[in-house]
């Protein structure tokens, strides 16, 4: 479910970064309030654990294929939503940098799609209410399956929306959704089963490690903070989305605007013999003047010259780089 940079437009990426940063801000504040230094190494080691478990594939019964854990729900059940969310950010950033799973610009989307839903929705709205009066095998199975299915469905739906809003695909909304949701329904169900198996093992061996079990008294506070968080995030999204789109449509080209303000025109005219001589040299030597074939006004030449020019620049830059590297190595050998 990792989004790639190529699948999103900068405005969507920016909006999702703002939303994810908001959730990260709340999480950092909450973890700081706990002022438990010992939690930091646990978060690091658990992050590496989730990273490594994602390398282990599980068989999807009856299909002959395999999948891997997302881990958000499991982390939340062990670390709580806030520390779990911050750990997931670390996991996603490291995955993106080391293995190109995701992208730097798409990180905001991935954090939202996988960490926010898994940790906040999964932990605060599903795990905690189910566990508030104590845990049992049946409750863990219910919370894990419900949590994984719902959060993966929300994540997959967000992937669809983010891609469609970015204008990347021509797939109709209904087709895209109809493809994404059932796949993630199956994955979510199996992930839920596996998460519950692991958590039941923990519950039977070391039940004190599970988060949010029997904490009915904190329900009110948690509800309030989540509500506040959602309101803040929604307002941030509206402001950001509105501002970015307004700015993008009002000022499409900064330099031309500046030139028009200063000179009254976006194209400057120059006079004098030096300019005339330079112009005549340019006209004689340029292969494709004005992005077109010489003595041609056709649109055909315009497009062709653009492509030829671009490829020429790319090729020349490659040649230049190789020459530069060759001479540099020669100099280094001489110095040695």
């Amino acid at each position: 479910m990792h989004m790639a940079d190529a699948l999103i437009a900068p405005a969507v990426a920016g909006t999702m970064y703002v939303l994810s940063t908001g959730a990260a801000g709340v999480s950092v504040k909450k973890v700081r309030e706990e002022s438990d230094e010992s939690k930091i190494p646990v978060m690091g080691v658990m992050g590496a654990f989730v990273f490594a478990t994602q390398m282990l594939n599980f068989t999807i019964p009856g299909t002959g294929s395999s999948g891997h854990l997302c881990g958000g729900m499991m982390l939340s059940a062990l670390l709580g939503p806030y520390a779990g969310f911050l750990t997931m950010i670390g996991v996603l950033l490291v995955q993106c940098l080391l293995f190109a799973d995701g992208g730097l610009m798409a990180l905001g989307c991935n954090v939202w799609n996988m960490a926010f839903y898994g940790c906040f929705i999964g932990a605060l709205l599903i795990w905690r209410p189910i566990m508030k009066k104590g845990a049992s095998r049946a409750k863990i199975i219910l919370a894990s399956i419900l949590g994984c299915v719902l959060t993966l469905q929300l994540g997959a739906f967000s992937v669809t929306l983010e891609t469609l809003i970015s204008g990347i695909t021509e797939l109709p909304f209904s087709t895209f959704v109809a493809t994404m949701q059932p796949i993630h329904l199956a994955i979510g169900f199996v992930e839920g089963l596996i998460t519950s198996a692991v958590l039941i093992f923990i519950y039977e061996a070391r039940p004190e490690l599970l988060w949010g079990v029997g904490e009915a008294s904190e329900k009110k506070e948690a509800k309030l903070s989540l509500k506040k968080t959602i309101i803040v995030l929604a307002v941030a999204a509206l402001i950001c989305g509105g501002f970015v789109s307004l700015y993008a449509s009002a000022f499409p080209d900064g330099l031309e605007w500046s030139m028009e303000q200063v000179a009254g025109t976006s194209e400057l005219e120059a006079e004098g013999t030096v300019y005339e001589t330079a112009e005549s040299i340019q006209e004689t030597t340029s292969l494709l003047p004005d992005y077109a074939f010489p003595d041609s006004e056709a649109a055909v030449g315009t497009s062709f010259s653009g492509i030829v020019g671009a490829i020429l620049v790319a090729t020349l830059s490659a040649v230049f780089c190789y020459v530069f590297r060759f001479f540099r190595k020669k100099t280094e050998t001489k110095t040695a």
Binding site: P10, L193, A197, D253, S303, F304, A310
Partner: protein
């Protein structure tokens, strides 16, 4: 070689690249991080039918791979993880987008062009991240993140995750190898085995985390890592500025109105 072993090999290769004494490795990490983000931003901002600016934007990739002595093959290989989703999203464009676009005098289906630009964007963005990570260690990236005021708790968690990936991945490899020897020919681990197999491992990891914390605490850990301050040289400033200007020029002027 199974998938975990392949990833470990990939990780070791990256660590070797990061430890080279190449001048690009010695550049300030903040500059490299910023220019990578700017590059990815500009690539993704190119319109779906604009092929010329995309070809021109390859200049950055060509420069960094040739001068940085990086392998194009290794970079392209990293596409494998994002390729399925990118392919799924783009593959229907030729059938659904009936717009006609003129390219080199020929009428071409807009869907074909948009699929091509999507693939190119996917390739460039993956290659750009590879340039960053092959010339900058995670510790240096964390230093850059701290410089731009990313909360220290997030940065510390990233550094810890990175430190323990090797240990955890090796453990995952041992578990998987042991399982495969007992269940030959099975694809993945059967879901009924996950409870005890991964549960045990999880408990060991939690205990390991406690030992790690105690060791760190005994060595004076006060909730932060002390990162050595990096000096800023002329090249550290010139490199991102020059690239920033070149890329902005290419994106907004060089290919403008051409296609």
């Amino acid at each position: 070689m199974n998938s975990i072993e392949k990833r470990l090999v990939e990780l070791n290769k990256l660590q070797d690249l990061q430890q080279r004494s190449h001048w690009m490795n010695n550049l300030h990490p903040l500059g490299k991080l910023l220019i990578s983000v700017i590059y990815i931003f500009l690539v993704t901002s190119v319109g779906k039918y604009e092929i010329v600016p995309l070809i021109l934007l390859s200049v950055y990739i060509i420069f960094t791979y040739i001068i940085g002595e990086l392998s194009f093959r290794e970079g392209i290989y990293r596409m494998r993880l994002i390729l399925p989703l990118v392919l799924f999203v783009g593959i229907f464009n030729p059938f659904l987008d009936k717009t006609t676009v003129m390219i080199a005098g020929y009428s071409v289906s807009g869907g074909m062009v948009s699929m091509l630009t999507l693939m190119i964007k996917g390739l460039y963005t993956v290659l750009a991240v590879y340039v960053l990570i092959a010339t900058t260690s995670i510790d240096d990236i964390c230093y850059a993140l701290r410089t731009v005021k990313v909360p220290k708790i997030i940065v510390i968690v990233i550094m810890l995750i990175y430190r323990y990936i090797d240990v955890m991945s090796n453990e995952a490899d041992r578990i998987y190898t042991a399982y495969r020897l007992r269940a030959p020919g099975q694809k993945g681990i059967e879901y009924r085995s996950w409870g005890t197999l991964v549960g045990q491992w999880l408990l060991r990891s939690m205990d390991k985390a406690r030992v790690v914390y105690e060791s760190m605490h005994l060595r004076g850990f006060k909730g932060d890592f002390i990162l050595k301050k990096k000096g800023v040289k002329k090249i550290d400033v010139i490199y991102p500025i020059v690239w920033g200007l070149i890329l902005l020029f290419i994106r907004f002027y060089a290919g403008r109105g051409v296609l």
